[in-house]
């Protein structure tokens, strides 16, 4: 192994562990929530191992509990993970030199932080090698999987999630993710349309349709609004912040 390769491994591992630490509570949370929503520990672990996408895993598990039609659970997972399409498109120039097998395996590990680190390394003009990608990805993947199992065992011990306040963590986590997209075009109209749409749909149509109907309302608003709506956004924003 050349010193340069050693340095790559060290760099990737250091970054990966930092991500793993930040993601650790969510892995434990996922394991606990999965058990709470009547998945087995083996199923929760399998989900972490094969999906390996925190937000969609939590969304999927949440829908399991609502007795949602299976195709809708899969569609929701797909919808939440759709951003990866944009990620893999964006990092295409950085990974083009990899072999087919290398691309197929390293893209399996593509997550928000993996995307951000790859983009940063590529933009800095440093070659994104296969070993660097895999060390970065696996040093997040392995703790994620292990902590899911830990969370699963804790979930079995916890009992009523309300008594230790776990039930609010998931909605707050999703709200945090929604806020994370707030720099996007037409974010506020989309959120208002989806929020109002889902509450109305829950009331008049019922679960699980409020998820897809609400999402559809927000997506339709984004597609129909003027493509450059910077001026329209500001006044709406003031009203909502006042209410909150």
């Amino acid at each position: 192994m050349t010193p340069a390769t050693k340095e790559e491994i060290r760099d990737a591992f250091r970054r990966g562990i930092a991500v793993a630490i930040a993601a650790a509570p969510f892995a434990v949370l996922f394991g606990a929530v999965a058990i709470d929503n009547s998945l087995t520990i083996a199923e929760a672990a399998l989900m972490s191992a094969t999906l390996y996408a925190g937000a969609s895993q939590l969304v999927g598990v949440e829908l399991f509990n609502h007795n949602v039609a299976p195709w809708l659970v899969v569609l929701s997972i797909f919808a939440v993970n759709f951003r990866h399409v944009l990620y893999s498109a964006a990092i295409a120039p950085h990974i083009r030199h990899l072999s087919f097998f290398e691309k197929a395996t390293s893209l399996f590990l593509l997550t928000d932080p993996q995307f951000a680190e790859t983009e940063r390394r590529g933009d800095a003009g440093i070659r994104v090698t296969y070993i660097w990608s895999m060390v970065l990805g696996l040093s997040v993947y392995v703790p994620w999987l292990c902590l899911t199992v830990v969370g699963g065992f804790l979930g079995n011990l916890i009992g009523d999630p309300r008594s230790i306040g776990i039930d609010v963590l998931l909605p707050i986590y999703f709200m945090g993710l929604v806020l994370g997209f707030r720099s996007r075009a037409n974010w506020l109209p989309v959120v208002i349309a989806s929020g109002a749409g889902s509450i109305l749909a829950l009331h008049f149509v019922g679960s699980p349709w409020h998820v897809s109907l609400g999402a559809l309302a927000g997506i339709a608003v984004a597609a129909l609004l003027p493509l450059d709506a910077k001026e329209a956004e500001a006044p709406i924003g003031d009203v909502i912040e006042g209410e909150a």
């Binding site: 094969t50 299976p70 409020h210 999402a215």
Partner: protein, 104 residues
């Protein structure tokens, strides 16, 4: 908890895993073959995460009881300033105070 796996759950996880993998390779395959996405389709795709995730937040905030509604409101304010983990911590502390000290 008598079995390790249930057939339907296993199928959903498998389909979800395939769907997720397709999103991870899809963009690369798409962009290396094509160059242009219609702007309105792009705007719609761009809105997908916020639109989907909001539907999991809004009903919970409205139908979860006043303690959940108040907690979500405080967490929203915290989320304007704080990162995800501190925001979760604030929300958790608020709901625990409400349930153990305010409700009694």
């Amino acid at each position: 908890m008598d079995t390790l796996f249930h057939a339907q759950t296993l199928l959903i996880i498998a389909a979800g895993a395939i769907a997720t993998y397709l999103t991870r390779v899809g963009g690369y395959i798409f962009i290396t073959r094509m160059k242009r996405i219609p702007p309105r389709a792009e705007a719609a795709l761009n809105a997908v995460p916020a639109a989907v995730l909001t539907t999991l937040v809004a009903p919970a905030a409205v139908t979860g009881g006043w303690d959940v509604s108040l907690t979500m409101a405080v967490a929203l304010l915290a989320g304007m300033r704080l990162a995800l983990l501190p925001m979760l911590a604030v929300g958790w502390i608020v709901v625990m105070i409400l349930r153990y000290f305010v409700i009694g």
